[in-house]
């Protein structure tokens, strides 16, 4: 097939044929549709099913079995999953679930990348909920497919279903003379559709019979990732494409204003071969045949911007937030808080500050787009292909069904990073250029134009009685909401900046804020700051939870100290829920927790050591953590020596994956607590790379001990972000234990530590 016929954006049948490998044409890596991963189950037969799937705009009908899986002639299955793989292993876990119900082994199941023409719409991949939200449909569809296959086998083998057994996709029956007959799934339906309504009525395999779920088969993407064969988004090329870069101010300004071009001299890139400047409104980009020429042109382009100097600056941030006229909402009110404070033996209060933090994906986001007059193909690393399709349709003025979005994994995103922004930017550039464009954000684009995890101010007051029972708890939280309009749309179309409506993850979290404890009198108030006056915001892994826990868990420890109790025992006294107790006990035991009140072993030594315990979560599951740290009181440097983290996420489908997730969460939390802070002046963001936005490095990395609390009788819930809040609280409490001083603001940089110790 000649390369020129492969323009994917035409969505011609020839373009939809899956490639086994890159087609090499004209020195470029070219893809037609999708390649690796598609055939990873070894099933050439997958092509047949895929071709019929790829032709029409999705989402496919969720009430059809064929939407969820296909059985191929070689006795393998493709499972169509609506969640993206981000390196967390959840697609392997969902394949375990499908293989379990189908009685296949892991080598017989595979999945494909998300594609709005092929894969079902299960909502976005967020809140660590792929297993919780994804497994019911996949499990029941697989069970129902198995039932249909058994009915076919029953006819073929002339035996009642009750006598059939299945192993590795081979259905067998023993006849009365002791002989045996068998037929494979592949022989029964190989590559033909089931054409069956999905009713959800098939009986599910009892948990006691599980052979794969609860075990830890290894991830199928790792061998290719270490050998260099894995195709990341950054490796994908389209035939006839040019390389693009966006040109923006270095560092975003106030969200509500965006950025306005003051002057632009297109002739300034004349010396760069083939470079073209493309502009729509205040959106500017460059394209060139060669990637380095696009990079150079973007840097050489003479452009000046108008940006208002109305930001508070990172130094004045918290005072500004606190002074705003806010939209207030009582999240939870229980009992008589005022009365309880009045009578309590011990009352503690504190004001806490948490900065903007960046997703800071290790590889900046990129996207490829081929936009025609009435259709578009966009390849990107979105966590929600259907939501991205809708926003792209609006930006391009093309109906959503005519926009096809395909997912390729980039580097980890940890929430709503720049993946939608870059997809929109690539699409706009392609529309302007009249040809396919590959756009790669530069490091300063990613760091400077991220939707940051919002800054937070927390004011907390809590009280305990003389026996160490928490009797009252009040939390007031200030932060703004997620940003709803991406920068590309804002600059190109003049779409006014806007925020999301209030949602569960954007408000004071009733679980993190004392919810794990049995407290009779509680009042939680959310003070929504007007976000258009600040930076762009979005959910960043365990959104706002680290901020809540930093304030709340320090307050709990202070109550423990005032009542003369050990922090672990104080928590035990105040917990009723056995699952919170489970993670608390798990980390205490793993860390050989020694019973004594917080800050009861202070010394005059230069290096003080301390340990802290904390609880927290995101929206589901249960997290507990212990931190062991050392504080250098002369330099202000903190060395985190060991982190222990436990998650109870119900039935752990693949415990090894959860261990790896816990491990990563502990390390990322140490990074966020010690180093990470988006800095900005009155005009724009100034933390634009790894020097100005440092993250944790090897030499500072603690030892980690991950603990999975397995609960086979409980529904599977999230495990990708549920121990970070606990870990944040544990680190802060370890600092207090070491020094007798509470840190009221993170990150816990040497300067802040010295100031808190009175040595600044």
């Amino acid at each position: 097939m000649s390369g020129t016929k492969m323009s994917s954006a035409k969505l011609a049948p020839s373009a939809l044929f899956p490639r086994r490998e890159f087609l090499k044409a004209g020195g470029a890596l070219v893809i037609g549709f999708s390649m690796k991963g598609f055939l990873s189950g070894g099933a050439l037969g997958a092509q047949g099913a895929a071709i019929s799937r790829g032709l029409a705009a999705g989402p496919p009908d969720p009430k059809q079995i064929d939407t969820w899986l296909a059985i191929h002639a070689d006795n393998t299955a493709t499972v169509y999953i609506g969640y993206v793989e981000l390196g967390q292993g959840s697609t392997t876990s969902l394949l375990q679930i499908a293989a379990e119900e189908l009685d296949l082994d892991m080598g017989q199941v595979s999945t494909i990348r998300l594609d709005t023409n092929i894969t079902p719409n299960q909502g976005g991949t967020y809140s660590s909920s792929s297993i919780a939200r994804g497994s019911p449909a996949i499990r029941t569809a697989a069970a129902e497919a198995r039932q249909a296959l058994l009915q076919l086998a029953s006819k073929k083998l002339d035996a009642p279903i009750e006598r059939l057994t299945v192993s590795r996709g081979t259905v067998g029956v023993k006849d009365s003379t002791g002989g045996a007959r068998s037929v494979t799934y592949g022989e029964l339906v190989g590559d033909k559709p089931f054409s069956l309504a999905f009713t959800g009525s098939a009986p599910l395999k009892p948990v006691a019979d599980y052979k794969l779920v609860g075990k830890s088969p290894t991830r199928n993407d790792i061998p290719d990732k270490v050998s260099g064969k894995y195709v990341y988004l950054q490796h994908v090329r389209l035939l006839g494409m040019v390389h693009g870069r966006v040109v923006r101010p270095r560092g975003q300004g106030v969200y509500g204003a965006g950025a306005k071009i003051a002057s632009l001299d297109e002739t300034s890139v004349a010396g760069v071969p083939g470079a073209r400047v493309l502009r729509k409104g205040d959106f500017v980009g460059v394209v060139a045949e060669r990637e380095w020429d696009a990079v150079r042109a973007a840097q050489q382009l003479k452009i000046t911007w108008d940006m208002p100097a109305t930001l508070p600056g990172s130094d004045g941030l918290y005072d500004a937030m606190r002074a705003e006229k806010t939209t207030d909402r009582i999240v939870l009110e229980r009992g008589d808080v005022t009365g309880a404070f009045g009578q309590a033996a011990h009352v503690v209060s504190g004001n806490y500050h948490a900065p903007y933090q960046a997703h800071a994906g290790f590889g900046p986001n990129g996207a490829l787009a081929d936009v025609k007059a009435d259709s578009a193909l966009v390849i990107c690393s979105t966590q929600d292909v259907y939501a991205t399709r809708n926003t792209l349709a609006g930006v391009l003025g093309i109906p959503a069904p005519k926009v096809r979005v395909q997912y390729y994994e980039g580097s980890g995103t940890y929430g709503h990073s720049c993946y939608d922004d870059v997809a929109q930017a690539a699409a706009i550039l392609s529309q302007l250029a009249g040809k396919p464009v590959r756009l790669q954000f530069m490091r300063w684009d990613e760091h400077g134009w991220d939707n940051y995890g919002p800054a937070h101010v927390g004011e907390i007051r809590a009280a305990a009685d003389a026996d160490g029972k928490i009797v009252a708890y009040q939390y007031d939280g200030w932060h703004h909401n997620w940003s709803a309009i991406e920068t590309s749309a804002q600059l190109a179309l003049g779409t006014p900046a806007a925020e999301w409506r209030l949602g569960a993850a954007q408000q004071v979290n009733p679980t993190d804020c004392g919810g794990m404890y049995d407290i009779p009198n509680v009042r939680l108030v959310n003070h929504q700051v007007p976000g258009l006056k600040y930076l762009k915001g979005a959910w960043l892994r365990s959104p706002l939870d680290l901020s809540f826990s930093f304030a709340s868990e320090q307050t709990i420890d202070e109550l423990a100290r005032l009542t003369g109790m050990d922090a672990y025992k104080f928590r035990r006294r105040n917990i009723k829920d056995e699952r919170w107790m489970g993670v608390l006990d798990a980390v205490a035991q793993a860390s050989r927790w020694e019973s004594r009140p917080p800050a009861s072993k202070l010394s005059d030594a230069k290096i003080a050591s301390g340990r802290g315990i904390g609880l927290g979560t995101h929206l589901t599951s249960y997290g507990g953590a212990v931190a062991e740290i050392e504080v250098n009181k002369e330099t202000g440097q903190i060395a985190v020596k060991h982190m222990y983290g436990a998650i109870d996420a119900g039935l752990a489908v693949n415990p090894a994956f959860i261990e790896n997730q816990i491990s990563g969460q502990l390390v990322q939390t140490v990074s966020r607590m010690l180093h990470e802070e988006v800095t900005f002046n009155k005009t724009n963001v100034t933390s634009l790379d790894w020097n100005s936005y440092p993250i944790l490095r090897f030499e500072e990395c603690p030892e980690v001990t991950p603990i999975v609390v397995q609960r086979v009788d409980q529904k599977s819930t999230g495990a990708g972000e549920e121990v970070m809040a606990a870990a944040a609280g544990a680190i802060a409490n370890a600092f207090f234990d070491a020094t007798g001083v509470h840190m009221r603001e993170f990150p816990l940089t040497p300067n802040r530590v010295l100031a808190a110790l009175g040595r600044g």
Partner: protein, 165 residues
């Protein structure tokens, strides 16, 4: 139109079309279609683009392609052959021992940083076959990982060293 510049990558000599000042990274990914070295920062801060040049780890995002003329560049894809040559093995293994150890430890999360991790670890073990944990941490300190995979990377390097003992 072809330039005159020739570079040796994974033991193959190729004539390069790019201008001599072009960073090596863009030549490796766009002209030679290699997937190991990849863009991370373009500032030599993160290690995403690392390759070996005459056995030394180098950031290809800030190295002009002209600077490697006459030298030998090894990318992630060429590591098994580089190892075989170094160890005088009769047969090239499927994977460098570090690559195998990263699989055995299931060290990877998103895996984007693992090009640089593996390149740097291979360089380390070629010079210090039995590093202490402190030596591993120091050698790897210029490589960042956002997923927090450092503890397993350290274990994987220790495992690879152990296997070579």
């Amino acid at each position: 139109m072809r330039g005159k510049l020739k570079i040796r990558v994974n033991e193959r000599v190729t004539e390069i079309a790019a201008a001599p000042h072009t960073p090596l990274l863009y030549v490796l990914s766009d002209e030679l279609q290699l997937q190991g070295p990849r863009f991370g920062c373009g500032l030599a801060q993160c290690g995403s683009c690392s390759v070996l040049v005459n056995g030394e780890e180098v950031r290809s995002c800030v190295t002009p392609v002209s600077a490697v003329a006459g030298k030998s560049v090894t990318t992630l894809e060429g590591l098994p052959a580089w190892y075989a040559k170094q160890k005088k093995l009769a047969k090239v293994p499927a994977l460098h021992p570090v690559q195998q150890a990263f699989i055995d430890e299931q060290a990877v999360q998103c895996g984007y940083c693992f090009n640089g991790m593996i390149i740097q670890a291979a360089e380390l073990l070629s010079k210090t076959p039995q590093p202490t944990e402190a030596q591993i941490r120091t050698a790897m300190n210029g490589h960042l990982c956002r997923c927090g995979s450092y503890p397993r990377v350290i274990k994987a390097i220790q495992r690879a060293a152990e296997a070579a003992r």
